[in-house]
Symmetry: C2
Subunit: 329 residues, 2 copies
DNA sequence: CCATGAAATGTGAGCGCTCACATTCTGCGG
DNA sequence: CCGCAGAATGTGAGCGCTCACATTTCATGG
C-alpha cells in the first residue's frame, strides 16, 4: 500500500504538496496538481483516514447504538439515519446489543469512544436504554431517537402521543364510544406515549377509558389477546399500538367470525409495508422514518457545532385511512 | 483526553509498561499492573484505537456494503452478521447505498478502504451489485452473501434453489398438478434461484411448467397480479417468491371470493414474522438469517487467516406448513 | 556476599498524515 | 537587470501508540 511519501517521490514534490492536493487547497499550481494526481492514480493511492484522524483528532465517524429486537420502527430509523449521515460525509459505526442493560451499554460506548467517534446516536426503544446511557459520561455529543421527552437529552422523535390521538380521534369521529387499546410492552417508551395519547383523546371527548390490554408488539400476542377478545363485547373499536399486533387481532377475529369493520373497527400504528394488504387493509398511523433519520443527523450537526438544541425535534405522523375502520353498527 | 504518557507519568512507570498492561502481557509485576490500572481508572483513560491501528496496521474493522431497499432478508442478514462480528471482536462500518451501480460501489469501497477495513462483506440482492464489485480490485478479502453461486467469490448463502424445490414439492405432494410461480424481479439473484428451483422440481415430476408471473417483491405487485389471476383458472396452486407478494395475492383473492386453500393453495418464501397471521396463515419457507450472519463471519475469519475457502457455504431452508395450502378440490 | 541469568522495565524510532513555519520560486515595477 | 512581494513549495515536529531492542532489577546458587 502506497503512502503519501511514495506519491510525493513519484510526483517529484514534497509530501506536503501532496497533502495540499488531497485537501483541495488552492495554493498548488495546476501543473503540479496534475502531476500529483497522476502519481496518485498510478500508485492507486488512498490516503489513510487512520493517520489523518490521529493528527486532526477528527474521525468524521459517529457511533450508532441500537438496542433490542430488529423491529420495523428502529431498523427503519437506523437505515434512514445511516443514509443521512453518509450524505453529510460521516461514517457510521454500529454497536448493536441484544439487551439494553448498563453493562452492555458501557461496553458499546467504550468500543465507540476508543474508535474516537465524534458523537453517539442512540436509537432507544426502552426506558432502560435511556437510563443506562444517561448514567454514562460520554465526552462527546449524544443524540437520542426516543419519545419519552425527558429533559437533558438532545432527542428527536416522531410524535407518538399525537399519532395515538389521531388514531383515537378517527375512531371517535366515526361514532365509536367504547374504544379499547392494545398497548405495547411496559418497557417501551413509544408504547407508553401511544397509550397516553389514546387516554388523553378519550378523556378530552368524555369517553370511557378502560384498562388497556398489553401485548409485546408481536403478531402472536395480538392473536392471543384477540382470541380472548372475540368472546367479549361492550366495545366497537380497538386501537392497536402497532400493525403487527393488529394483524394478530385480525387473524383471531376472522377465525371467530367477527367482521372487521362491520362488527369491530381496528386502527394500527406504523404503516408497515404489509398493512395495506391485510384483510381488511389496515387503517393506521404512518411515520416517516427516513425523515426521522435526517432529523437525527441534522440535530447532530447542530450539536457538533457546539450549538445546544434546547427543543426536542418532533415530526408529526399521519393517519392513513383504510378499510379496517368504519362506523359502528 | 488522557493519553498513554499521562497514565505512565501518574503510575510512575514508562509508557511501554502501560502498553503492556493494556495488551495483557504477562511480564508485568502484579504490583506494577495494579498501579497502572489505578492510573487508568483515575484518568478515565481509553487507549486510542486510531493510534494503535496506525502502528499495528490492523483495525479489527470490517466494512459492510448492502444495497437496495431494506427488505426483510437483507436487513435480517445484516443484523445477524453485525452480531456475529461483535462476538468475534470486530467492529462493523456500514456503507449502504440506494443503487448498486458501479459508481456508487466504487464510492462505498473507497470510503471503506480508506478506513482500513480488514475485509469487506457485501450483502448482495442483485446481479448488478456482484458485477460491480467484481470489477473492483479491493486488496482485502471479500465475502459476499449472494445466491447466484458464481465462481471466484467467497460466498455464503441460504440455498434458495432448495427452498423453492421444497415449496414446489409440498404443493405437488398435496396433489397439485398445475403450480404457478409468482417470481421476484429479474435483477434479483434470489428470485432467479427460486424460479430455477420451482422449474426443476416441476420437471423432475413431469408437471407442466408455465411462464412465471413477475412481481417486484412488494405486496402491491402481488395484489395486482392476484387481481388478474382471480379471473383465470387452470391452476390450483401458486408458489410466490416471497411472503409479501403472497400477502398481496391473498388480499386480491379474498376480494374476488377465491378461497385459500380450498380453491387455491399458496406458498410463500421467507417466513416473515407476519406470515403466521396472514388470513389464512401462510405456508412458507423459513430462512435462518442469524445463522447466515454467523456463516458470513465464520467464512470471513477463515479467509482473514489466509486460508482460501473453496466451497461456497450454504445452509438449508425449511418448509413451514400452515393453513394456506391443502389438497386440490 | 557476589556473579549470573531471567524477569521486569525503559528507550527511541516510526506508523502516515497535518500543522506551523521556513524557504524557494515567480512575475512585475523601477 | 535587480529587488520585492506574494505565490508556491518544502521542512520538521508530533498526534498516541507498538515494536525491537537496551537496560535495570531481582532472586538464586556457589
Amino acid at each position: 500500500m502506497a503512502n503519501i511519501t511514495d506519491v510525493a517521490r513519484l510526483a517529484g514534490v514534497s509530501h506536503q504538496t501532496v497533502s495540499r492536493v488531497l485537501n483541495n487547497q488552492d495554493t498548488v499550481r495546476p501543473v503540479t496538481r496534475e502531476r500529483v494526481q497522476a502519481a496518485i492514480a498510478e500508485l492507486n493511492y488512498r490516503p489513510s483516514l487512520v493517520a489523518r484522524a490521529l493528527v486532526t483528532r477528527r474521525t468524521r465517524t459517529v457511533g450508532l447504538i441500537s438496542t433490542g429486537n430488529p423491529l420495523y420502527g428502529p431498523s427503519s430509523t437506523a437505515l434512514g439515519f445511516n443514509e443521512a449521515a453518509r450524505q453529510a460525509g460521516y461514517q457510521v459505526t454500529i454497536a448493536s446489543m441484544a439487551t439494553a442493560d448498563r453493562a452492555s451499554m458501557l461496553d458499546a460506548v467504550d468500543v465507540l469512544l476508543r474508535q474516537h467517534v465524534e458523537a453517539v446516536v442512540l436509537i432507544a426503544a426502552d426506558y432502560e436504554a435511556i437510563e443506562a446511557i444517561q448514567g454514562i459520561s460520554l465526552g462527546v455529543p449524544l443524540v437520542t431517537a426516543e419519545s419519552s421527552g425527558r429533559p437533558g437529552l438532545h432527542s428527536v422523535s416522531i410524535d407518538q402521543f399525537r399519532g395515538a390521538e389521531l388514531a383515537t380521534a378517527h375512531l371517535a369521529d366515526l361514532g365509536h364510544r367504547d374504544i379499547l387499546h392494545l398497548a405495547g410492552p411496559a418497557e417501551s417508551m413509544d408504547a407508553a406515549e401511544r397509550t397516553r395519547g389514546w387516554r388523553s383523546e378519550l378523556e378530552r371527548r368524555g369517553l370511557a377509558v378502560r384498562e388497556p390490554l398489553v401485548g409485546d408488539w408481536s403478531p402472536e400476542s395480538g392473536y392471543e389477546i384477540g382470541v380472548g377478545l372475540a368472546r367479549e363485547n361492550g366495545f366497537s373499536a380497538i386501537f392497536s399500538a402497532n400493525d403487527q399486533m393488529a394483524l394478530g387481532l385480525l387473524h383471531a377475529l376472522s377465525n371467530a367470525g367477527v367482521r372487521v369493520p362491520q362488527d369491530l373497527s381496528i386502527v394500527g400504528f406504523d404503516d408497515i409495508p404489509e398493512a395495506a394488504h391485510f384483510i381488511p387493509p389496515l387503517t393506521t398511523i404512518r411515520q416517516d422514518f427516513a425523515e426521522l433519520g435526517r432529523d437525527i443527523m441534522a440535530t447532530l450537526l447542530v450539536v457538533l457545532d457546539g450549538i445546544d438544541v434546547a427543543e426536542p425535534v418532533q415530526t408529526e405522523p399521519r393517519l392513513i385511512m383504510r378499510a379496517s375502520t368504519g362506523a359502528p353498527a
